[in-house]
């Protein structure tokens, strides 16, 4: 029984951060219709930026955010404005191709600069444990859970009840009508892309402590993100968050109850099962 609670807790904690990753992609998708296949590589980039700051200045990854967050926001805006926007009007497969290209470029850039061997980004809280009953939780996971939940809540509130949020939803529902209301559609698209990538700087810092980082790990995060996105219903932000947790829990269950290798398959099996029975995503039809 303890094992079950352990798996649930671990899955919930890590899954919330998966949800955050997917929320970034969902935000970009809902406004621009872009599925960003380099999403996970931007997570790597965020983590390697943390690593660089740790190596050079011995900064804790949480402190590094003061640098990596603005940096990733700017990178996101530049990538959207100068790479994605010029291609976005063409066939949608062109954008897929482009983001796949960005993924390879980022991976190899990281490989070139940091080498292929795994690195670690330690944090002061890394070794701390939190005990609730017999369930042991690692402090970085708890931090990640609280921060992801807080960010997701903030994002919901902004989207629901501010003019910026309404403008974002308006562009999603009818870009032409939004332009006729005086909303600068291009700027909204660049802005949401930048925020989507900026969220990855935060996710990167949250995931970094205790996780060995490698240049090739981006793909794994991209796949997890896509699973959560599809499972949640593409533009249903609450659904995406819940889906992230489902992926996290099934991953943890697989690791604890099955062998390591077999356990890694469990999230995909769960995904396939859910999508078979609820192709529209777990929380009903996709809605803005």
């Amino acid at each position: 029984m303890d094992e079950l609670f352990q798996a649930l807790a671990q899955g919930l904690l890590i899954g919330s951060t998966y949800g955050l990753l997917a929320l970034g992609m969902g935000l970009i998708y809902s406004v621009s219709g872009i599925v960003n296949f380099s999403h996970g590589d931007f997570v790597s980039l965020g983590m390697y930026l943390c690593f660089a700051l740790f190596s050079a200045l011995a900064l804790d990854p949480y402190v590094s955010l003061a640098v990596t967050l603005p940096a990733m926001l700017i990178i996101g805006a530049v990538v959207c404005r100068y790479l994605i926007a010029p291609v976005a009007e063409a066939h949608s497969l062109m954008v897929v191709q482009l983001t796949l290209g960005i993924s390879l470029a980022l991976q190899n850039l990281i490989l070139m600069v940091f080498g292929g061997q795994p690195h670690r980004v330690p944090s002061v809280v890394e070794a701390k444990l939190v005990m609730i009953g017999n369930v042991v939780m690692r402090m970085p996971h708890v931090v990640a859970f609280v921060a992801s939940l807080a960010l997701a809540t903030a994002l919901f509130i902004v989207l629901r009840s501010t003019d910026v949020g309404r403008a974002i939803r308006a562009v999603h529902q009818n870009a032409r009508a939004a332009a006729l209301m005086g909303i600068d559609v291009g700027r909204v698209k660049i802005g949401t892309f930048a925020v989507g990538i900026g969220l990855l700087a935060i996710a990167g810092a949250l995931l970094a402590p205790g996780t060995p980082i490698m240049p090739s790990m981006g793909l794994r995060y991209t796949v997890i993100t896509l699973l959560a996105l599809v499972l949640g219903g593409m533009t249903n932000f609450l659904g995406i968050m819940v889906a992230g947790v489902i992926i996290g829990v099934s991953e943890a269950m697989g690791m604890i109850y099955l062998s390591d290798t077999l356990g890694m398959i469990l999230p995909y099996a769960v995904f396939v099962l859910i999508v078979l029975f609820r192709p529209e995503g777990i929380l009903g039809q996709s809605r803005g």
Partner: protein, 234 residues
């Protein structure tokens, strides 16, 4: 108030407008008539800045706005109520109205303007919390017009407001348009409904294949044989 001088508009190889000249005086209700694909919506989209003018220029209160982005034009008070209403279906009526007033010049007066729209359209007031997608076609048209008013329209451009509405709603919408006009609003009305437009408009233009073929008062336009041929495509 508005002058269109020798404007061309092209979509790729297709010429949508060629050499269009129009003027709209302050407080006028001007009708823009023509068959499908005559270029009526193109005129509006050039005025809104959604479609660039390939040639010619557009003056608004003496200022050349030909190259201004759509956002700046809305801020000046050039507001289009698009064909097919284009309300934001998953947002509430209130949110749609709020979005009407997100532009910088409308925002300070947004709350009062929404009040005013609710007085103009009591049906919208009853449905403020309802998703706009669940409204009837006529109610959506009210919302689209209301949203345009909240946007601070000084030149309100209505694209086919009667399209797809029941006769009762058509009558109601035209009464509203007439009332707004009598309150002093400048209106450009694009319509296929010839008779209703001629009844309410001060002046009309008739477009045929991207060119203005008839212009004048309602009587002049009604009696001009070219109006009929423009409509029937003869």
């Amino acid at each position: 108030m508005l002058h269109i001088e020798g404007v061309d508009a092209v979509y790729g190889p297709v010429t949508a407008l060629s050499g269009v000249n129009m003027r709209i005086g302050k407080g006028e209700l001007v009708g823009l008539l023509g068959a499908n694909n005559a270029g009526k919506s193109s005129v509006m989209n050039v005025l809104s800045g959604i479609v660039p003018a390939a040639k010619g220029r557009v003056l608004f209160e003496g200022e050349d706005i030909t190259r201004l982005p759509p956002k700046r034009r809305v801020e000046l008070g050039i507001v289009q109520v698009p064909e097919g209403r284009m309300v934001f279906p998953q947002m509430s009526v209130r949110e749609n109205l709020l979005l009407g007033g997100v532009n910088a010049s409308a925002k300070p007066k947004r709350a009062q303007e929404i009040e005013r729209v609710c007085e103009l359209f009591p049906r919208l007031k009853e449905r403020l919390a309802q998703p706009a997608g669940t409204l009837s076609g006529g109610e959506q048209q009210m919302l689209a017009i209301g949203r345009g008013l909240v946007a601070g329209a000084r030149l309100l451009m209505l694209d086919e407001p009667s399209l797809g509405l029941s006769p009762l709603f058509v009558k109601y919408i035209f009464e509203i348009i007439d009332r707004l006009h009598k309150d002093g609003l400048t209106i450009l009305l694009v319509e296929q409904n010839l008779n209703l437009t001629l009844r309410f408009a001060n002046r009309c233009y008739v477009l045929e294949r991207g060119e203005i073929v008839v212009e004048g008062t309602a009587d002049q336009v009604r009696d001009d044989p070219r109006t009929r041929s423009a409509y029937l495509g003869l």
